[in-house]
Symmetry: D2
Subunit: 328 residues, 4 copies
């Protein structure tokens, strides 16, 4: 399989949390980050985050750097989360001009994407949600989301808008919380160029079986993009791919082939205390190792196991396939 | 507000778990259970579970008992979970004749519902799911579910089929797992008489804000039925309503009024170690107490709080409304 | 490594849950269960559950069967959970004579253990806990537990009493909930023959890192016994060992060697829908496969990785060790 | 009851998260923060965080401000989390001089506490933990923690050192993770002036019943300090007290009286998007409202309910006590 691997550029930069807000690392120049990304085996694309990485004033410079390093822009993630103006919501802010600004800014990022020859923006409206009981104004919020995203989708029909869901954080409840919630909204939006991004860790956090979410979305043609990382199921720890969940990743990779997913495999990590380049590189190594296992088994054999549904037989085969050391 | 309160009849009977499988209580006759249900203030309907409470051979007897006690049959829950034949799935069994039998049996229950003047069957296909990685055959399973439920829906268009979702148990993963997953399926089924049941505890277990799930479903006209109970968010503990989640129930009750929900409020408890009649009765008392608080505040005032979205102001008002003792 | 593998006999018998209370399988005779256990490669011991497997009237018969099949009794689990008398607590029942009976019955089981040449009883007081707020009478409950277990420990100092903790189920809260809670109680009990059992799935359910819990207990000499299975971290699914958590099991097995654990490795599964003998057998295959990986790496190398603490390096080594297919 | 209420000073200042790292609010001067704290009804103490609020160079200034506003220093929280030097651990850093510096700095803070007439430092070693499998070096880490805290405790026996546990964040696993884990360590440390802080939200996140944890600690004389806030059980959301968990707070307040807790009730919030002074003020209002309910019921009546253990009766009484509107 020849998958396209990418990384979010910010993975390689500084990372902070609410306790160590200056960040766990030193700042690195954009040039150096791009150079590092390009040096990671298999990486052929990067994702750029609005404000942090990309804005109107540096498009030409970034385009030149991408060209120099033979990298494609896999996606742009407009910044609807890191500015105070969005702190109580972007598309669902109770302040009309904030909602308008969210749309206007998204359109601007759609244009920038086109300039960078990038066919997809990944929309993560992280501040659109609520924190307390009786705070969510659900009906209005859904109406606002539908109208805003429709307007953006109609603005540039040549560019995909992929909605990234996340159960929570930074709000205690996001409006785009789960795969199916987001699909329901996407179906109401009803535009060909609007679909869904699965972030492996976000799906785990919502207690989803990621493979099943992928099938549910792909079944309706709405699986547009993928973010990869790992966590302990309770929170978006953004760890190295495969470091915790092995067989679940294997199941996902099998079904992505089965559903003929053609998009990017993009790394979305927060390597607070680790060498960032190594963290991304090792994540891709895990994916490639798991892909090799699928090659080794063959799609037909795995499909036959699934169709038979004998749990013990499947576990035994998977043990042999993965750990390959037993004579049992 | 004049809500219609019901209880699942089995709430009042014996309850078992995997450790104490003979049950925590003594067996009680069907007559006595119905008599007890009728004696609970506000209860005007009961839900009957297939096999346990209702089957072809006792319809006349049950109809007579309901009439005698002036109870309506709020819903029938076909038994797709307590027989060995369904142990590896009913509508999604890998065995064709089991799938056919699941449909045939559901049709039979639809006819029985009609005989009992009951306009809704509550479908909880608890064994339809999977346990292990690489065991779920997602595409086929969804296809089977859609086809089977469509066939049932077309069999009697005068009767509603309400799909009850649950994240897990008895399988580690159910196919009808969350509100939105089930709505996606309902939209694919695309029949007017097919909708969704929210069980308060199932929604909590899936980390849903129940009020938001209710709005999402009601917004598309698909909120058909409600099961009430409480738990600690991690498992379907089936406890007394309100015993754990107070403000969440208040928020749900507000939004049910706001969305003009007209269906039943049906208690679904497992009072293993408690007096069952008291557990149901106390559950309804909680609901009525919370409804009275909404009356007291007035819908307009609560709506204004939500529209304003000031979390602290809302919490203060809710504290005063609920606990009513402060001068703060 | 030559570990001693055992299985709880009931794993091989019928399993029920609250929905399918007659059980997912047919009943099998005790003789046949023991024969099946003996036929599983590596199994040299079985655990017997009170009431279900062992009671005063069948000790001689069971002893003969064990001898015939060359099996040792790895542990006895007194039945403090499957009888109505314990439904609101055994050692912490509010009824004095129930508490006394819990102790008397435990002493009886200690004697039976001695008759079977079994040096450890595994105490799982599953009904000792509470369900609702303001229901737990913590101080009295702790006092009762301490006094009761002390009395049992003093009754036969030649037999170990190992307390098995579990966060919840069948109660929503157990008094012996976590590794450390139980260790605190064990230290208050202050008897040499009282220690703790880790059940892998119970530890996961409490969000423990099982390896860390094992070290914490072994550090004080109180890790007496182990139950193995797997789950999805939220509930005691009692699945096949290794089917979900691979690297976590590897970490545990490493630390058990490191801490020189000498007790049994005992399988505790609930293979509701699977071939039970196969489920146990495959569980042991996983363990042996993982043990072989530790042999292959060598204890010193793993210890060096831990001491260095470089997460990426460790993940890379573990990937190569486990999946062994990468050139990265 | 005359409880002593305090607030962590930083509650009133700026708050950031990993997405909005410049913070959700504007910076406020230390003077203004202290003035605001003093203006909150019932607040008679504040907690100061090292680096952020208090260090050697501003002790005199802070002392003067406290005096001016008639505030006591309820506790000092040494900063073992917001500096890069601690990013891979303070007391359990693999680098010896970092461990030494953690101890030296703690001693410095003990001296500062004395200067401010403050009898307790609250130790939250948030970076002491691990993220990945095979990363935690448990035995060494425990040894280092025990030795370091002992050294600090011996340095000033007149000052209490209260260890605040937290399941996770910023690490995926903390060494001081739960109430009992921490108590086990405190018992190994074995110094009179070393005890435990319960943070309500941290306890919830560990799936503890906070009231039970309080009893477990108080029973051994080791409940030294309390931090109050609220969350949704899965993460440390640091919300307004009582906004989510009502009856659980009531149960805790009852048991604190029962166990004769004499320490501070200190607010520990992160009001990202709310008016911070109002968030603290409303938190205290909730506590006082709940305390008034206990007064109204009377300790003896609640104790009798607990001793009886009739769940339904207790729920009914609690409903009447809290919501007080029913005639049921």
């Amino acid at each position: 399989m020849n998958h396209k691997y990418a990384t979010i550029l910010g993975n390689l930069g500084n990372t902070s949390d609410r306790f160590l807000s200056v960040g766990y690392r030193d700042l690195t120049s954009k040039e150096e980050l791009i150079r590092q990304a390009a040096s990671i085996p298999e990486v052929s694309g990067i994702e750029l985050v609005g404000t942090w990485d990309i804005e109107a004033r540096n498009v030409t410079q970034i385009a030149a750097l991408l060209k120099e390093h033979r990298l494609r822009c896999a996606a742009i993630i407009p910044d609807h989360f890191s500015q105070k103006i969005w702190s109580k919501g972007a598309f669902t802010s109770r302040v009309p001009h904030v909602r308008q600004q969210a749309v206007a800014y998204t359109k601007e990022m759609l244009d920038i994407a086109a300039e960078l020859d990038c066919s997809l923006i990944n929309l993560w409206p992280g501040q659109d949600g609520y924190d307390y009981p009786f705070q969510g104004d659900f009906q209005r919020a859904y109406d606002w989301l539908v109208a805003a995203i429709r307007e953006c989708a109609d603005y540039r029909k040549d560019t995909k808008i992929s909605l990234e869901y996340k159960l929570k954080e930074p709000r205690t409840h996001s409006y785009l919380a789960r795969a199916a919630d987001t699909l329901v909204l996407v179906q109401e939006i009803n535009r060909e160029n609007v679909g869904v991004t699965i972030d492996f860790g976000h799906a785990l956090m919502a207690q989803e079986n990621v493979a099943e979410s992928a099938v549910m979305l792909a079944r309706t043609g709405k699986l547009f993009h993928l973010h990869f990382n790992d966590n302990y199921r309770y929170w978006d720890d953004d760890m190295v791919v495969g470091s915790i969940h092995t067989i679940e990743y294997l199941e996902l990779l099998f079904w992505l082939r089965q559903m003929n997913y053609q998009g990017w495999f993009s790394m979305d990590l927060y390597p607070y205390r680790e060498d960032a380049r190594e963290a991304v590189s090792e994540s891709i190594e895990w994916l490639k190792t798991l892909e090799a296992l699928i090659d080794q088994a063959g799609m037909a054999k795995i499909e036959a196991l699934i169709q038979e549904g004998n749990a013990i037989k499947t576990i035994r085969e998977m043990r042999k396939l993965m750990l390959g050391k037993s004579n049992g």
